[in-house]
């Protein structure tokens, strides 16, 4: 059931057009603006109950028309690309191979980064956290909450942190830094 519901969520999110929903009331309330550069660096931290310390990865992301790149650089190099709503993941030999079931997984990330609240409202109750520049996303559907119990998007002027709370004390935290990439990084 887990994956089915995750797909339910993620699949819906991948359909997000990528248009930053500045017009939405939520974006206005948070005062977020779409960064001039649709690229930057990330630090992703995964906490599992059976790990003594979080597993941290670093890399960069890049949005271009019809394409989203998520490049992990540390501790290993691995590239993921979404092109035309299809996910390609770099294999051990460097080849990018399409993952038929995985597009929605990375689509989730892209949808979160674009913070399209109009789309997110269809699946989550959105609530601005008092005194913080954060919005809390609680799944409307109980079954959806079996997959992601809660998501939080935070940032001062634009989205800077995504936190996904899963079951069994699993948590994924992604810190985003919207900055120009170096030459050769694309």
């Amino acid at each position: 059931m887990f994956v089915r519901f995750l797909f339910l969520l993620l699949g819906s999110l991948i359909m997000v057009s990528g248009v930053y929903a500045e017009s939405s009331a939520m974006s206005s309330a948070l005062g977020w603006k779409w960064p001039a550069l649709q690229q930057g660096r990330f630090v992703q931290s995964k906490s599992f109950a059976n790990l003594p310390k979080p597993f941290t990865t670093r890399g960069y992301f890049l949005r271009q028309p019809g394409e989203f790149i998520w490049q992990t650089q540390q501790p290993v190099s691995q590239r993921m690309e979404i092109r035309d709503q299809r996910l390609f993941v770099e294999q051990g030999d460097g080849e990018l191979v399409e993952q038929p079931l995985g597009a929605s997984q990375v689509g989730l990330l892209e949808a979160m980064i674009t913070a399209d609240f109009l789309q997110l409202e269809a699946y989550f109750q959105l609530e601005i956290m008092p005194g913080e520049k954060c919005v809390e996303l609680t799944p409307i559907d109980k079954e959806l909450s079996d997959v992601v119990q809660q998501a939080t998007l935070c940032g001062e002027h634009h989205l800077e942190r995504i936190v996904l709370e899963h079951q069994e004390q699993m948590r994924t935290t992604i810190d985003l830094e919207w900055t120009a990439l170096e030459a050769g990084e694309s």
């Binding site: 994956v3 089915r4 797909f7 992703q44 995964k46 992990t72 079931l101 597009a103 997984q105 994924t172």
Partner: protein, 748 residues
């Protein structure tokens, strides 16, 4: 008269009821076409497995939606089908979370390919593990990390789930994309056993179309397509019903009008119908007595009996008020015709195809019944009130007689000329046979196109199915793995779906355990353990057994893919992107354990086999008929008769090929009808000459046969149409050429 009619009719009705009960209660009718294959070609185990697997395909119906608003239309349709209980629950996939938990227990003996390839190189192992763990949101990782931090289980299940389904998913919907990158959203429906039968299939199809038409009104921009065996059953049943009503009605009306015109009474119609009924019943009873079960194909091939039964009846009817010596002459001619035809059909008994032996018994018994009725029952029945031929027909026959007598001396020359022309034509345009099973399918073009579209979208055009057999499940799994290794060595792009992907053989599991143990000893996982801060735990000798799979979420998958019986175990595998020459090499490589599983190809091959056997038998029948005619009528008329029969058949085939493009088994079957009627025409022309009543009988026989068989040329089902067209052409040629065998003025 009426009392005699009752005496004739009542036993027929009682016998029909008895046969009907026998066929229904004792399952006396066998419709399994593959059962007609010789045992060496299709073992019982494979045949049973084939039925098991085919039943799964038969219950599936696919509906796809594409175009603007396709997702909304899909969702609406899904809700509707869900309410109706039509959705196939298996198509939504197995519960992956449970799968992950299940396989994590066997992480030492089932390895994912990426990790397996990395073993022996600590950096590669780290890259494989961390690469997967780095993915921001991989449900396979989060679903199994607790139990298996090496992520071997996550990779194992992910690879197999991705390769398993022919569909992609956007989360809520199954879809595939076409060449224009347009998405077609699929719904997989399950039809019940009743809905697969003719009546149920029609009701289901009707209901499905109503729902789709309603959908089109709400979402006018969407296009929908549907496919499935049950829909073919429905369309063919509707087509057959329509054609039976139309053609049956037209034939009946035509025969009634012709017989009424010829005799001024409808009694001849009753006589003919009763003779046909008794002949058919005698054929079925004899077949059931000899074989205990009649095959539906033997009844199909036995259709020629109708033509002969009509022929015997009309000869008897035209002479019902004749002088005793004339009646005796007709009786002798009918007897000679019966002996010749029965002897010809007896040759079918020597065919290696069991169903043709049934045809021999069916037709010979039916002929015997028609002969007895024509000689004994019909004269007794009409004793009080004989029927008379109308003066119009007699005067017409008289005119025809005069011309026949005048033309007869030139007919041999004309026939030889036609033979030469026909041979030249054959040289330029040789007869081309095509026995594809689709000839039996009268489905609409739309349904065939839908089928082709779904086949293409789901990769069917690049995929070939095979059946693998073994004495035990373990042996079968080992064979599947050997096949997979061979395929991988031959073709990099080939993909193979097999049950051993989910349940590796014990041999393979031991190898995997050894690899893991060695990797652990060599420190391949040291970097991973250090960075994660955990010690990886690899259970020892915890083998994955078929019993464990039987009580796992994979239970249904195992049952779908594997057929088990006391005689052995069979599974079906599908291989994509393997060239046809590589497929042949593969079959050669595993001759005892691998067979191609292509139902359409199998049935096509069977039809081709039937056709070749029938052609040989046809040649034998032609020779036998010529021999009997030579013995009873003399060599010269017999040779002329053989020429007439051969030429009529060849010209009918040439004409059919010219109109349709190619010939099939059913055109050869028509030739049997032509020979059967030709024997009668020839015997009567030689014995009775150009007498008026003889010509009336032969003409009535021709017209009735054309009305019964010729009208089938307009059928929408290619096989039936081919049969009707060749029969019609052949009978007309036969009618035109057969007077050649009459004795000339100098011979009489």
């Amino acid at each position: 008269m009426w009392r005699r009619t009752l005496w004739v009719l009542l036993p027929a009705l009682m016998l029909a009821a008895l046969v009907g009960w026998w066929l229904a209660a004792k399952q006396g009718l066998n419709s399994n076409i593959l059962a007609t294959l010789p045992q060496s070609q299709q073992s019982i185990l494979l045949r049973n497995a084939d039925e098991h697997f085919s039943a799964q395909f038969a219950e599936r119906v696919l509906v796809s939606v594409t175009g603007l608003q396709a997702t909304a239309a899909h969702d609406a349709l899904k809700r509707r089908f869900s309410e109706l209980g039509w959705l196939n629950s298996d198509a939504q996939g197995v519960d992956i979370q449970m799968l992950l938990r299940f396989y994590s227990r066997y992480r030492s003996v089932v390895l994912n390919e990426e990790l397996e390839n990395a073993l022996g190189d600590a950096n590669a192992v780290s890259r494989a593990v961390f690469g997967k763990l780095s993915q921001p949101s991989n449900p396979f990782v989060s679903g199994s990390f607790e139990q298996d931090p090496s992520l071997n289980t996550a990779g194992f299940v992910e690879q197999r789930v991705q390769a398993w389904s022919p569909f992609k998913t956007d989360g809520q919907r199954l879809y595939q994309t076409d060449d224009q990158d347009q998405r077609h959203y699929f719904l997989v429906l399950s039809v019940s056993h009743e809905q697969q039968q003719m009546g149920g299939a029609k009701a289901f199809y009707d209901s499905l179309q109503q729902h789709l038409q309603a959908l089109q009104k709400t979402y006018p921009e969407v296009q929908y397509h549907y496919s499935g065996i049950a829909l073919h059953t429905a369309e063919n049943a509707l087509q057959a019903e329509y054609e039976m009503n139309l053609f049956g009605g037209l034939s009946l009306l035509g025969v009634i009008l012709v017989l009424w015109w010829a005799f001024g009474s409808l009694r001849p119609l009753m006589v003919t119908a009763i003779v046909i009924l008794y002949s058919g019943l005698a054929g079925i009873v004899a077949t059931l007595l000899v074989f205990q079960q009649a095959h539906v194909l033997s009844l199909v091939f036995g259709i020629t009996l109708i033509g002969i039964a009509i022929d015997y009846s009309v000869h008897r009817l035209t002479h019902s008020n004749a002088k005793p010596n004339e009646v005796n002459a007709v009786a002798r001619s009918i007897t000679l015709g019966f002996v010749t035809t029965a002897l010809g059909y007896s040759l079918f008994a020597f065919s290696p195809i069991g169903v043709l032996s049934q045809v021999a018994v069916f037709v010979v018994a039916g002929l015997a019944a028609a002969w007895l009725l024509a000689l004994i029952v019909v004269p007794w029945w009409l004793m009080d009130r004989p029927v008379t031929v109308s003066p119009t027909w007699l005067s017409g026959a008289r005119w025809w007689c005069r011309h026949l007598v005048a033309w007869q001396p030139k007919m041999l020359m004309v026939t030889l000329l036609l033979t030469g022309l026909s041979a030249v034509w054959l040289g330029f345009s040789p007869l081309n046979f095509n026995d594809h099973i689709r000839l039996l399918n009268g489905s609409s073009q739309q349904l065939l196109e839908n089928e082709a579209l779904h086949h293409r979208l789901l990769g069917g055009d690049k995929t070939q199915r095979f059946m693998v057999q073994g004495q035990t499940l373990e042996m079968l799994l080992e064979t599947e793995e050997q096949v997979a290794d061979w395929v991988a060595a031959q073709e990099d792009n080939a993909e193979i779906q097999r049950i051993s992907n989910w349940l590796p053989s014990l041999v393979r599991q031991r190898q995997q355990q050894q690899k893991i143990n060695r990797a652990q000893q060599d420190g391949d996982f040291a970097q991973v353990e250090e960075l994660l801060g955990v010690r990886l735990d690899w259970p020892e000798q915890n083998w994955l057994s078929s019993e464990a799979v039987q009580s796992s979420p994979l239970k249904d998958v195992l049952e779908t893919k594997v057929y088990q019986s006391p005689d052995g175990v069979v599974s079906w595998i599908s291989i994509s992107n393997l060239r046809s020459d590589q497929q042949q090499m593969l079959l050669t490589q595993f001759p005892d354990s691998l067979v191609l599983y292509d139902k359409a190809a199998q049935l096509t091959q069977l039809m081709e086999h039937f056709r070749q056997q029938l052609l040989l038998t046809l040649a034998g029948v032609l020779l036998a008929a010529t021999a009997v005619l030579a013995f009873s009528l003399g060599l010269k008329p017999a040779l002329k008769g053989a020429l007439v029969m051969g030429l009529s058949i060849i010209m009918a085939w040439e004409g059919t090929a010219m109109l349709v493009g190619s010939l099939s088994l059913f055109n050869v079957l028509s030739a049997m009808l032509i020979i059967a009627l030709a024997v009668d025409y020839l015997v009567f022309y030689v014995r009775q000459g150009a007498s008026e009543k003889n010509l009336v009988a032969i003409t009535l026989s021709l017209v009735s046969s054309l009305l019964v068989f010729g009208v089938l040329a307009f059928s929408n089902t290619p096989a039936i149409s081919a049969f009707g067209l060749t029969a019609a052409l052949g009978l007309v040629f036969l009618y035109a050429l057969s007077p050649m065998v009459m004795k000339g003025r100098d011979e009489t």
